[in-house]
């Protein structure tokens, strides 16, 4: 991976963090309402996975999808305006935080009923396989979603018909407030995929390079026509489930421990022209990563000036997005009707 791509990935992670923290502030100000599920802590997964995907691939995501949308290239303005429920949002204010869609970028939606992403991804995968195209579908879901029936139904079909779907579990250990050992008889999520003969592995989701590499490998396999792949990324959300959730069910010591593994800190440390393999990093463990980070920082591969520029850049992007969202007009009821009537000939049907 070249340095430029690494810096871009770092940029995206910084943007993700800044965007989400600002969304929380705007929620506090009353500019965003409803359910708001934030992503801080999990940035390495979205960034690592989506930077390994091609523009022709399809992305199916959940209700915690602002960052997936941003990394996929939906402008921050458009995402923030949607969070504000405005007409210039990516879904004209009809979807909101949990339902971001972008046809041009093949961002096939945020789905807010847990477990819906599997059948949608399977259907897109079915079409790709039927048409014999080189594309793939990336299907995001959380650890809580693996207990839905659609998980088993859809994995079975994807495997049965060798569909080009990459199942990506963002395992942040909590289904809202219930820790994985209390909601899952098999807490090693990836093992469930083995029940359907889907190649599956578990990867450190706090390490963006490991995420990227694992995704690339899986997508290569998928494009070879060998059917679906499954990756469980172990990650952690620093905030509660949504803005309505203080996350008080989690031991402080656990939150602190994960904060030490902040993927952004790790990514900064790793934004280098030369870096160790993800196996080495994984083998070394988080303590070694901290040591490595210190070492790389001292070696000056990522200058503090570059980092400061990146941070200033994303701050300006987020500031501009809030301005854009604030100034964007409210949609009308006629706009809402037009959205429902997309490509419909209501007037000729009766």
């Amino acid at each position: 991976m070249d340095r430029e791509k690494l810096i871009t990935m770092l940029h995206d992670m910084l943007l993700a963090r800044a965007f989400e923290e600002r969304a929380a502030e705007e929620y506090g100000r009353g500019n965003i309402a409803g359910f708001l599920h934030l992503y801080p802590g999990e940035e390495a997964v979205a960034v690592g996975v989506l930077h390994a995907a091609e523009p022709s691939d399809y992305i199916v995501s959940t209700y915690r999808e602002h960052v997936h949308a941003l990394v996929r290239g939906i402008p921050a303005n458009s995402v923030m305006a949607e969070l504000f429920g405005k007409k210039e949002g990516c879904c004209r204010g009809m979807g909101g935080s949990m339902h971001l869609f972008d046809r041009e970028r093949r961002f096939m939606g945020g789905y807010a009923i847990v477990g819906e992403t599997y059948p949608v991804a399977t259907g897109i995968g079915y079409t790709i396989a039927m048409r014999d195209l080189p594309e793939a579908v990336i299907c995001f879901f959380g650890d809580g979603a693996v207990n839905q029936g659609t998980f088993h139904e859809s994995l079975n079909m994807a495997a049965l018909w060798d569909l080009p779907v990459l199942f990506v579990c963002e395992n942040n250990h909590y289904q809202i407030g219930t820790e994985i050992h209390r909601h899952s008889a098999v807490p090693e999520v990836y093992k469930r995929a083995c029940g359907y003969h889907i190649p599956a592995r578990k990867v450190d989701g706090m390490d963006v390079l490991a995420v990227h590499q694992a995704t690339q490998e899986a997508l290569t396999q998928i494009r070879n026509g060998t059917g679906p792949q499954f990756i469980e990324f172990e990650t952690y959300r620093f905030r509660g489930h949504s803005m309505a959730d203080p996350g008080s069910y989690r031991p402080r010591v656990e939150v602190k421990a994960y904060e030490k593994e902040d993927p952004i800190t790790i990514a900064i440390a790793e934004s280098l022209p030369v870096y160790p393999s993800s196996e080495q990093i994984a083998a070394a463990g988080p303590d070694s990563i901290d040591q490595l980070a210190t070492h790389l920082d001292q070696a000056g591969h990522l200058s503090s000036e570059t980092l400061a520029e990146l941070k200033a850049g994303v701050a300006e992007t987020v500031e501009a997005a809030v301005r854009f969202a604030t100034e964007s007009p409210e949609p009308s009821l006629a706009d809402a009707q037009a959205c429902l009537d997309c490509n419909r000939g209501m007037e000729v049907l009766i």
Partner: protein
């Protein structure tokens, strides 16, 4: 070119034509492929079009219906067959939360050219879990359209129109209609998909009905004619939207409304029809509208009780006579 065919054959021909004309059409469901469909609707098509276009699915209603949603998002025209509407309860998330919502929630970016076909209604001693109607469950969902073909001709027209439409359309096919016969004229131009049809003109009362109850209502109308009462019988053909204009024109003429549905009346389809037409025609009504429907019971297995739980022609005749005496 007209021919007398079974209802299932009309559906089969419609599918065959659409599969031949558009390679983005595919059919999926339980036993739709090799087996040929539990009511023979897909008979012979697997051999002709292959497994990708006639896809036998596992028993996973929620996910294979959702698969149809995903495929429709990328421009396919999936025809999902759910073996009976009773199993569709397992797929309501895909139907109501996804198919009906995605075009809207995406701000109009993604049309949903999805067709979901399913048998419904009381058949022959299938017991309570296999004898439901449930159309009212789906009628209340903005974003869905519901067609209820009652004849082979309508089955052929409406399935083809549904496949060509860019919106999610549900076809409810009464299980007892598959082996009913009727004329199919493939050269006739189709009326708009959701237009109601006056099957029999009359001046004394309007009977509004749909699906299998059309046949019973027409039989009742013949008996009424012998008694000097001329009933106008309207087949709705569509439950969402409802063609109010055709119905209101009739009620304004006859001044009396009788609604016949197979399901129980409580919060049902007939309630919507009666309420809507009362609003449209209140000052032209000579008597309060009357609804006839099934008993407020799960359908019993016992054959005699089963028959007693849904309207019979004699029930329609009696209700019409009382209505016309007011």
């Amino acid at each position: 070119m007209s021919d007398t065919v079974f209802y299932w054959q009309a559906l089969n021909q419609a599918l065959d034509m659409e599969l031949a004309e558009d390679d983005s059409v595919f059919v999926l469901g339980e036993d739709v492929g090799l087996y040929g469909g539990s009511y023979r609707v897909t008979e012979g098509l697997y051999a002709k079009y292959g497994e990708w276009r006639l896809r036998d699915t596992p028993i996973s209603e929620g996910s294979f219906t959702g698969l149809g949603v995903g495929a429709a998002l990328v421009g396919m025209r999936p025809v999902v067959e759910i073996m009976t509407i009773n199993f569709a309860l397992l797929a309501l998330d895909s139907i109501i939360n996804m198919a009906a919502k995605v075009p809207f929630m995406s701000g109009g970016q993604f049309p949903m050219p999805l067709v979901i076909r399913m048998p419904d209604g009381v058949a022959k001693q299938l017991a309570a879990q296999h004898s439901q109607r449930l159309e009212q469950t789906l009628m209340n969902v903005p974003g869905l359209r519901i067609a209820v073909p009652a004849t082979p001709q309508d089955a052929w027209w409406q399935l083809r129109q549904a496949i060509r439409s860019d919106e999610p359309i549900i076809l409810l096919e009464h299980a007892l209609l598959y082996f009913s016969k009727g004329l199919l004229d493939t050269s006739r131009e189709a009326p708009p998909m959701h237009r109601a049809r006056v099957h029999r003109p009359g001046k004394d009362l309007t009977i509004v009905t749909y699906s299998r109850m059309l046949d019973l209502s027409l039989r009742a109308a013949e008996q009424l004619a012998e008694k000097g009462i001329e009933a106008e019988v309207i087949d709705l053909r569509s439950l969402r939207p409802i063609d109010w204009a055709t119905c209101a024109t009739s009620v304004d003429k006859t001044h009396r409304l009788l609604v016949v549905e197979e399901d129980s009346c409580y919060a049902g389809t007939g309630a919507e029809i009666a309420a809507g037409l009362t609003e449209h025609c209140f000052f032209n009504l000579d008597a309060p509208p009357v609804r006839i429907g099934g008993k407020e019971l799960p359908i019993p297995f016992n054959a005699t009780l089963e028959a007693a739980c849904i309207p019979r022609p004699s029930d329609i005749v009696r209700a019409a006579e009382i209505l016309c005496s007011r």
